[in-house]
Assembly symmetry: D3
Homo-oligomer: 243 residues x 6
């Protein structure tokens, strides 16, 4: 049995339920998913500022999960918030849903479009696209919806998402669609049928990458950039995080 | 039960056995591996010329496998020989071991080195590194060994491979090693212990990516670059391949 | 007298006539053009799959031409199909029409647009544009016409091509046009007059690059990536190609 | 009088003194420097993990400084820790010392080398170099010294720094040196004389960029990526940071 | 007192007045601006040809200014005409207004648009954007106005400029605007208020970069690419420029 | 008969003789080479400063040649000095020897090294390599010899050049060598035999590109970046160059 921790750094429990369901649907028969809402930080992550305050709670949750026996951890926010810090901290592998989704997209399509929520999240995701070497392959679009509006079936958010996918096909020649928010995790299979083309959810993608690394006996390198943090004094209310 | 076809486009059956063993070790409990040696082409693939003649046999094997019920196919040559053609041809997902290995490497290390066999394969792999967006992250080195010498424990090939890994650590600051030939698939776990750092084999990596795509209900987009081939007349001895 | 082999890897003899005429028009007074239709493979090359099956016949034709005294070879398909394999195989220089056309375009314009046939060929050509270092300079557009429809004056293909050139000027600020299919080779001079801007055909461009290399005593390097193939056993119906 | 806030996100007061002195030396006659040690986080920032826990205290300090009338803020850590979050949060301009130093270096040299402290900081700085568009111009080297050892004249750290500069000149053809740690801010002028080439400290560089933006009436755009955070509920001990 | 030389390589004195006023408005209280119209070359610089003939007069003016005690020089043409030659020639730092403006833009916005005068200047500025590593961040647009028409309030040039800014916001998602001609230097503050977003003028930006370098004791490296010219014979009417 | 103008912007007549001989050796039977030493500027071009003062004389020579019936012009300096200005000025095609040489090198080798004269010319050539899209393919090295020392068989310059080629093979895995100075034009064939690998001279390469463009009826686009200069007043001693 492989134990995977899925952390929702958005501190909204109903969103975690959506994420957990998507993770469980993706997981293999021998994988147990533990989905946890972070105990510290903003209700939703929309842009650089929110990201910063989501990280401490996220890392605390991963550390607790690792102590409790999790074999890999997934950060369920499309900004891959705190991913590098988590990889440096943990001995177990840590996956981001943006990196995981882009990776699978590139294996089934030459050109694809990420559709995210708000305009302020578009450039941060473009920077991830650059960092993951996908600049030539991926467009990023914002549907101008808030993260939490995805929870409300009457918000109109899903219709705006559909409209943006339609534009991606027409204007970007998109061959596949990547859903650019963990809160869209329940929509991938429906939209895939509706649009007749691959639609990729990062939560499911990351579950499979986590299973892959565990099965292959691979974990984060502790040489170089992800070397374990050096013990040192901490000041103030974050002192509990001193390595 | 997920049925995965692993094709060795190097027409050397003993090499296929090594590949099959690595694939089975990586596969989940509900995955059946069918490993097949291509029936047409060179005994080993070393450079651009050999690649060209490995492709027809490779595609024939994938087409037969797909007809026989395989749910995904893996091309077990680190040059990702024929990968784009196979993706256009097949309805099932097709994985390359170079793309799969680089993908996992980038999830556990910021900088890594691919160690391949012959110098003539170094630049083709550098071009794949570029295409997969990994130019800033990955070095490529050749150990100056032939593909088939890896089969012979007395050839000295494995010692040359070890020496090249040692140089990668010292000169490239490599945080992880990617084995740049399907014929090295049996060495990853041993070398990982020996060098105390992640060592990634592409065959196992591709098995997990194939399982991921099948489990998530994802397959190659048939819009754009991977649209199914248009039926048309063929001339000469390859006419059997007309779509 | 310089003897140049021009191979049409599309196995359609009427198309070869168009190509041959363009090659002869471009050739210098001391150059003899031998235009040959490949004896194996698809009637036209449209996308990755067709490319794969065009290569063996193409390489056989080049090998025969080289034995017969050709001093350079040209692959008359805009996907530069099999170019790297041919360069590794042959002692004589081998030219691609895409590389040759982009090269000349960059010497007379800062920004230009390639207009090709079908959408499925657009991304493969964009990948060539990247590989040849022209990503900042060149757009690629598809006119949504089949390769062989260019042969039929009543197909409407040429009007679609004109429309796409008009869009390239308006939307891409194109300063020059590159014709993205060997089957358009007869149209360059007409369209150049019609649009009042440079229009470049790859067949003529490649003839001049071939003449250049021969005149300068330059041929493909046999160090590194293009080193001659290593002799080795071949299995199956391609065994005649064993080096 | 222009009021500049310089925040040391390393919670080590003696290091702040070094930074403050460098900032004051760089500041114009009409600039007042307020140098503040962050009240929360690690004693020194060495790698991705430390960065994450430095950000909340850093942002709190900038918010307090802005309320108190600071006209621009400088983050005195070469990783440009929290820079994007701070720019989204604040109405005043926020400067990073890495971005500022690389900017000035590129105005006086075509090729230069950043010398930082520990190997685990090398790749994070390379990623900044990429993000700031300097990949072709800048090398990054680590002298293998800890941040706080720079405070101790008997630690040997400064000699290791000198040795690494010597190697940068010989091996990288460096035309200028950038000091890759705020803790080196007092060394720039001495090393510049010693090596007879430009040596750039980021703290001074950022002071001048801050003065520039204030004088020109420019501040962070509030359209797009740096739009002000959306008010939303926060959970747990970081709730004070809810916008 | 810091003495800055601002050279207008466009040989139009009224344009120099606009530039001088912008420079003085940006300059600190301890900075003296000497604005000089080049004595040789075209009345305005629009494209590659004009650039070439502006350089000798520009360099002569900088050399004279340096002899006269200027501590830094600014080239007030957005093409950064002659910048590399000037840096090799002078011992004092030399700033370009394009590089300076892009630098400040990147510190306050993630995505921005340069609006320049004529279409023939668009690609030269795109090449500067590439060279300065800003290709992912900056669009370039031409308003189709001549440089000198900016001098004439009745020319309609300013309205065309406003229209192009409006398009940049709508089509490029521009977060800030960079004015792509020294002749627009007086418009930045007005347009900033009018459009409610940062508008950056390169002349002011360069004044602050020049002050920064002088204050920090930094000047152009004389190792490598900017090494002082080697004395050698000159032929013809430019012989006065022999180093 | 095709009439080609070859301009040596280095105002050293003996060097022009070397260039003329190489051009004539490369030229086809129907090509007449007119080699001209520029009448204005430095005796040799070594770095950015020299380049600037070579341009006016170079452009004057090209303008005169075009008036006199030349059908294409070649700038015989490896920095491609003044190339963009010349293309904007002239109706006939203009070729640079760096662009021409890199182009042919990329058609016969995947990785190659440019060996130039002085260190101060290395970075300018690296910038050309970037601009021509060859950054992944080409290294640049300086042999630390002056341009004119190549004229003197007893200067030791040629031995230093050989040593640098030897290092390029050993350290860069160079598959071909490009001679990075017009003054080396007579050495290509000798060195090619001596090193047993392709050695490319830019003068010969440019002659063939010029013949190609003339034969194909192609010339510089007059849309966009290379549009003809706008007539305008000129001030000072360069007024004769007003368009």
């Amino acid at each position: 049995m492989t134990r995977l921790l899925v952390v929702n750094p958005n501190t909204t429990a109903t969103m975690t339920e959506t994420i957990a369901a998507a993770a469980r649907q993706a997981a293999g028969g021998e994988t147990a998913i533990e989905a946890v809402t972070s105990a510290m930080g903003p209700a939703s992550i929309e842009g650089f500022y929110d990201e910063a305050f989501a990280v401490p709670g996220l890392l605390a949750t991963i550390a607790a999960g690792e102590s409790g026996g999790a074999q890999a951890a997934i950060i369920a926010c499309f900004d891959d918030t705190g991913l590098d810090a988590a990889r440096a901290m943990a001995a177990i592998p840590v996956l981001g849903i943006c990196e995981s989704a882009l990776t699978l997209a590139a294996m089934i399509a030459k050109r694809f479009t990420v559709v995210t929520t708000m305009e302020r999240s578009r450039v941060p995701i473009e920077e991830l696209v650059d960092r993951y070497g996908m600049a030539r392959k991926a467009h990023v679009r914002a549907a101008n919806i808030s993260v939490l509006s995805l929870e409300d079936p009457n918000s109109g958010a899903r219709d705006k998402l559909r409209s943006e996918i339609t534009r991606a096909i027409a204007e970007d020649n998109a061959e596949a669609i990547v859903l650019g928010c963990a809160g869209m995790a329940d929509l991938a299979r429906t939209l895939q049928v509706e649009f007749g083309m691959p639609v990729i959810d990062g939560v499911g993608a990351a579950v499979k990458q986590a299973e892959a690394l565990v099965a292959l006996g691979l974990s984060t390198s502790k040489r170089g950039a992800y070397a374990a943090p050096v013990p040192k004094p901490y000041t103030g209310m974050l002192a509990q995080f001193a390595p």
